[in-house]
């Protein structure tokens, strides 16, 4: 089965510090791939490399079998790669509706849309994530959990083929986490492949088809959740070496 997204031996250096080191993996259609790892493991850097915000020092990234390593961020967005930001980036002066409408206008499904059409689609996405009641509020008036949903709605409005979620569950309580899990599953059911970075291991274990583990910028495991979580190296990365 051909991979939708392929990351091939990607490395990224920041002034001498290796953030991502020779990482390779694939993302298949209709798949939820979880990405876990201790803080500073390079997870957000990886997402930024895929979305095009930064470019790799070495390696290649392929989307639908074509290399996108040289494409700028906006072109990747139009091809169908959408992301949420861990440190959220709303358009503060715009209404919640218009925030999402930007995605509908400029994303993958965006060419040829009118403003009215885009707003309509934005409305749909906002209802999908559960923000249907705050359409007209200014984006900067929303609280934390609502902002996370807004980030999701903005990405979904782009009609992406690949969705990169960066810690959408951070700071949420158990009920809210279950709601987000439900939304992500429904997104996958629509045919979108999702890469989910998370710290909440229990949530991601049930959600993911596969788990990828990063540590110090390197991939140390890539398998089904049960296999990964019982892997010695993964336990060591999180808890440290056993003293026998």
């Amino acid at each position: 089965m051909k991979a939708l997204l392929e990351v091939a031996s990607v490395t990224r250096l920041f002034s001498g510090v290796v953030a991502v080191n020779d990482v390779s993996f694939s993302l298949f259609r209709r798949e939820i791939l979880g990405v876990i790892g201790p803080n500073g493991a390079g997870k957000t850097t990886l997402v930024s490399l895929i979305s095009g915000t930064i470019s790799p020092t070495a390696g290649d990234i392929l989307f639908e079998s074509r290399s996108i390593t040289r494409l700028s961020a906006y072109r990747r967005g139009r091809l169908g790669i959408a992301r949420t930001f861990q440190i959220m980036r709303p358009f503060p002066g715009l209404s919640v509706l218009d925030n999402v409408a930007v995605g509908a206008l400029f994303g993958h499904g965006g060419s040829g849309r009118t403003l009215a059409n885009a707003r309509e689609r934005a409305r749909e996405q906002l209802r999908f994530v559960g923000l249907g009641s705050v359409l007209d509020r200014r984006a900067d008036e929303l609280g934390g959990p609502a902002r996370k949903r807004l980030e999701l709605a903005k990405a979904l409005a782009m009609q992406p083929k690949v969705l990169l979620c960066d810690e959408v569950m951070a700071g949420l309580n158990l009920v809210e986490i279950d709601e987000v899990i439900d939304v992500i599953r429904r997104v996958r059911d629509q045919g979108i492949s999702i890469l989910v970075i998370e710290h909440v291991i229990k949530a991601i274990k049930d959600l993911s088809d596969r788990l990828l583990v990063l540590h110090h910028g390197e991939k140390i495991a890539d398998d089904k959740p049960d296999a990964v979580l019982s892997d010695e190296r993964v336990i060591e990365a999180y808890l440290g070496r056993r003293r026998d």
Partner: protein
């Protein structure tokens, strides 16, 4: 019905403005031409500064280029005014594309300063170019028809404002606003930020240059210092910001109000007018930082507390 009211009101206003030369004195018509052109400048700046969020100190460059386009075409090559306007516009747009690329990569106040530097340099450069008359400047063939210039200026203002209005209803305008609100997010969501910024810069330059061209022909004289006067750039910025950047009619109101106030004072005591201008700016920035448009919207609801709230939000 609610939609029609503002359109109707604006049309009536335009008709009244167009009729002024038949009722007003010569001085009033001249004041009108100046004010209308300033409004065009404020509106032009609004595109790059208000909607796109890049405060350009370089629009005076476009103004000068427009003026010199007309000046060179008419005084040196003896071509008609219309051709001169096209030349001026072309110069401005080319300039916007050439220099927009490096300069629009800079953020915030660095962009402002780079454009400021360009504006300074232009005056010095042009004063060394032979065909532009160097330091002495150019003298254009006179045309004593204030009525024509008035209606031309009004026409340009209407066109510019319509363009801005149309902008807000297109994908392009939406993209500009997204860039202003959060450029990185806009890029990731598929907005071609580089292209859009340059287009906004060029569009802004186009209208500014046309205003410069009309002004040059009107006063029939052009010299590098006054054509590229940075004070003019600051004036258009203040008018746009005072009136409400990122709104369709705000800059126009800002230009009308500030120009009128300035003129009323000038007829009293000349120096004090400029002084007052400065004081007005200072007071406006403290009390109504989001401009007249925002003031008129929120004053009804909040009254004088609007002013106090602004101070409270932004003070240390």
């Amino acid at each position: 019905m609610k939609r029609l009211l503002p359109i109707l009101a604006t049309t009536v206003a335009v008709v009244i403005l167009a009729a002024i030369p038949w009722f007003g004195s010569d001085v009033l018509v001249q004041f009108g031409i100046n004010t209308l052109l300033l409004a065009v400048l404020a509106q032009g700046w609004n595109i790059i500064g208000g909607y796109c969020g890049y405060p350009s100190f370089g629009n005076s460059t476009f103004y000068g280029l427009g003026g010199y386009g007309v000046g060179i075409a008419m005084a040196q090559w003896h071509l008609p005014f219309a051709i001169g306007m096209c030349l001026g516009a072309a110069l401005a747009v080319i300039f916007a594309f050439l220099l927009g690329l490096p300069v629009l990569r800079l953020k915030g106040h660095y962009f402002a300063i780079a454009t400021l530097a360009l504006a300074f340099a232009m005056s010095a450069i042009v004063s060394n170019v032979g065909i532009a008359g160097q330091n002495i400047g150019l003298v254009l063939p006179p045309l004593n028809n204030d009525l024509l210039f008035y209606e031309l200026s009004l026409g340009l203002l209407v066109v510019t404002t319509l363009a801005v209005f149309q902008l807000t209803r297109t994908r392009f305008g939406f993209g500009l606003i997204a860039i202003r609100e959060n450029e990185e997010a806009a890029a990731v969501m598929g907005v071609n930020t580089t292209l859009y910024k340059i287009l906004a810069f060029a569009l802004s330059g186009l209208f500014t240059a046309l205003a410069g061209g009309i002004h040059a022909y009107w006063i029939t004289f052009l010299d590098p210092e006054s054509a590229f006067d940075i004070g003019l750039n600051v004036k258009m910025m203040i008018m746009a910001v005072f009136g409400g950047p990122g709104s369709v009619l705000g800059p126009v109101f800002g230009a009308f109000v500030l120009s009128t106030v300035s003129e009323l004072l000038a007829s009293e005591v000349t120096t004090v007018a400029s002084l007052f201008f400065g004081v007005v700016i200072v007071a406006a920035v403290v009390l109504m930082p989001r401009g007249l448009a925002d003031l008129s919207r929120r004053f009804r609801a909040e009254g004088w507390r609007y002013l106090a709230n602004n101070i409270r939000t932004y003070r240390l």
